[in-house]
């Protein structure tokens, strides 16, 4: 596991050096687009339809569209220094006060050199008091809200969050006005059903079947795997193709002539 970056948790007057690791494996089995005849991985090029050519990255800038079709060109983002990776603790709410809708991505936090003691202290105290830390963080120059919490009695986890204003509020009333039509009898029946199916959450009970199926499929196809064609191979095939084409062209213009 490779750390994404090194940073600092700012906690009052104390700062705790940490390393940030992605917590979740991608659920997708890695696949790529391959050019079928030569098994080469497809490459993307930035293409300008006006100039009708592929453009190099130094000619590419970021622009924000205006309603009238014009673009405002934005200055390039400044290079961030390692010290910019700060996680500043704002306050300590309770975990259940935060709606899961705001959670985006989870990261493991590992104590950096010299930070072990403060790290352990923060973990222990939050666990003991049943509180989590709401923080403002910067990851890849993009600021966002985050929750830092004790995942267990020794390790901190960070959940990057959406800013609350990103929530599309209009969806919150999709179910309004339906409640008054419910009869008590139906409520009782539904309650019984839910009680009957009430179970604790056991993560192991839910393997990713689709992913496993995909992996099995790949394993079964292993014997048909092919190396991508290297450039020399492409060149030699082109050369042989040219020879044949030349012979054919000569044959069409009268055998032996030329």
């Amino acid at each position: 596991m490779r750390s994404l970056y090194k940073g600092i948790i700012g906690f009052g007057l104390v700062s705790i050096p940490i390393q940030v690791f992605k917590a979740m494996e991608s659920e997708r089995v890695a696949t790529h687009w391959i050019h079928e005849p030569c098994h080469t991985r497809i490459q993307y090029q930035k293409f300008c339809p006006t100039c009708e050519r592929a453009v190099p990255s130094e000619e590419v800038v970021t622009g924000a569209p205006l309603p009238d079709g014009r673009f405002v060109v934005l200055p390039p983002p400044e290079k961030e220094a390692a010290t910019d990776h700060t996680i500043t603790i704002l306050n300590f709410p309770e975990l259940r006060e935060i709606d899961p809708v705001f959670y985006e991505t989870s990261y493991w936090l590992k104590p950096g050199p010299g930070g072990q003691k403060a790290y352990a202290l923060l973990t222990q105290v939050m666990r003991e008091m049943g509180r989590v830390a709401l923080a403002e963080m910067k990851l890849r120059s993009r600021p966002s809200l985050a929750v830092v919490r004790a995942y267990n009695d020794s390790t901190l986890m960070l959940h990057r969050m959406y800013y609350p204003e990103s929530l599309r509020q209009e969806g919150a009333s999709f179910g309004a006005d339906l409640a008054q039509e419910l009869a008590e009898k139906e409520m009782v029946m539904a309650r019984t059903l839910v009680e009957h199916m009430a179970e604790p959450f056991v993560p192991e009970n839910y393997p990713n079947e689709h992913r496993l199926e995909r992996l099995r499929q790949i394993e079964a196809l292993m014997p048909t795997a092919e190396m991508p064609q290297a450039a020399p191979q492409r060149e030699v095939l082109d050369l042989m193709e040219k020879l044949k084409a030349s012979v054919q062209a000569r044959a069409q213009h009268g055998a032996g002539a030329g």
Binding site: Q229, A230, P232, Q233, V236, M240, S246, V247
Partner: protein, 296 residues
């Protein structure tokens, strides 16, 4: 004898002139070392004389993954540089890529195919072996030998192999059922002088030798690794004559070389330590029994 063992490769005679002929197969004569790929209990790649090419070119070990089990294939090992075979790079073992141009199948499906006609062996070859990795199944055309030769000449490749489609494979024999026409002529000539170009690179003046007289026949690029012998120098220097192998397309009426390139040169003797008495011929490195021999 079985797969894994050495089969001396079949050789070709030089045709007096390119020809087209029904019942004949024409394919590229790749410019490299002959290679017998023998995949049995052991995986071996033999030179024309049965030496171990894997020892000379460890990179070829990768070919094992691209050759089916239990086959014996006839092939040419080429060094691939800038989109074409480069014999000098092959000889100096400094090529970025090597390719095995496979053109015949001598053993497959548990039996020897050397008594089968070439037509059948080619079918087996194309069925069994696919172009992958550094293994390339060489292709050709039937009947149209002259057109193929012209195409080869235009692309400045070495030459054409002409083979009778109904002929068997005669190990180690030079037989008229295989003929070659060369688009490039290859000769050992004498380097007598060097000349430095504006850009700092060197040219060699090469010459024929009759008796004690040298007869200038053209200029070739000196290999990049060559430097003039120490001593008072200048942009033009007479050298103590030494031999190099040169390939060229043709000679003009006056005997000058056209499209000439150096193929091999006595690296460790650069600067003319070879004496004038030595006869032009393969230089010690490629001439020694341990070194691979050119195909054809």
């Amino acid at each position: 004898m079985g797969p894994g063992d050495f089969v001396p490769p079949m050789l070709a005679v030089t045709a007096p002139a390119p020809f087209s002929r029904p019942g004949w197969w024409f394919e590229t004569k790749w410019d490299g070392y002959r290679a017998i790929i023998s995949a049995g209990p052991q995986f071996r790649i033999y030179s024309r004389r049965g030496h171990d090419l894997l020892r000379w070119y460890p990179a070829l070990a990768e070919a094992r993954a691209h050759v089916p089990e239990d086959v014996v294939l006839d092939a040419e090992l080429v060094a691939w540089v800038d989109g074409r075979p480069d014999f000098a790079a092959l000889q100096q073992r400094r090529a970025p890529h090597y390719l095995l141009m496979v053109f015949d199948c001598l053993y497959a499906g548990g039996r020897w195919l050397m008594h089968e006609p070439l037509e059948h062996r080619l079918r087996v070859l194309h069925d069994r072996v696919k172009t992958t990795g550094l293994v390339v199944v060489s292709d050709g055309v039937a009947e149209e030998g002259e057109a193929y030769w012209k195409a080869i000449r235009d692309l400045e490749l070495e030459g054409v192999m002409a083979k009778r489609l109904d002929s068997g494979y005669f190990p180690g024999r030079r037989s008229p059922v295989w003929q070659k026409f060369l688009a490039l002529r290859i000769e050992w000539l004498w380097v007598v002088a060097a000349q430095q170009a504006q850009d700092g690179t060197w040219y060699w003046h090469v010459a024929d030798r009759t008796g004690t007289r040298f007869n200038g026949v053209g200029k070739v690029h000196a290999p990049a690794a060559w430097y003039p012998p120490s001593g008072p120098g200048g942009p033009e220097q007479m050298l103590k004559p030494f031999t190099v192998e040169v390939e060229y397309r043709e000679r003009t009426r006056e005997g000058h070389l056209r499209h000439a390139r150096v193929r091999q040169w006595p690296q460790e003797r650069a600067g003319g330590i070879l004496t004038e008495d030595s006869t032009p011929g393969p230089h010690p490195v490629s001439g020694c029994g341990d070194h691979p021999h050119r195909g054809g």
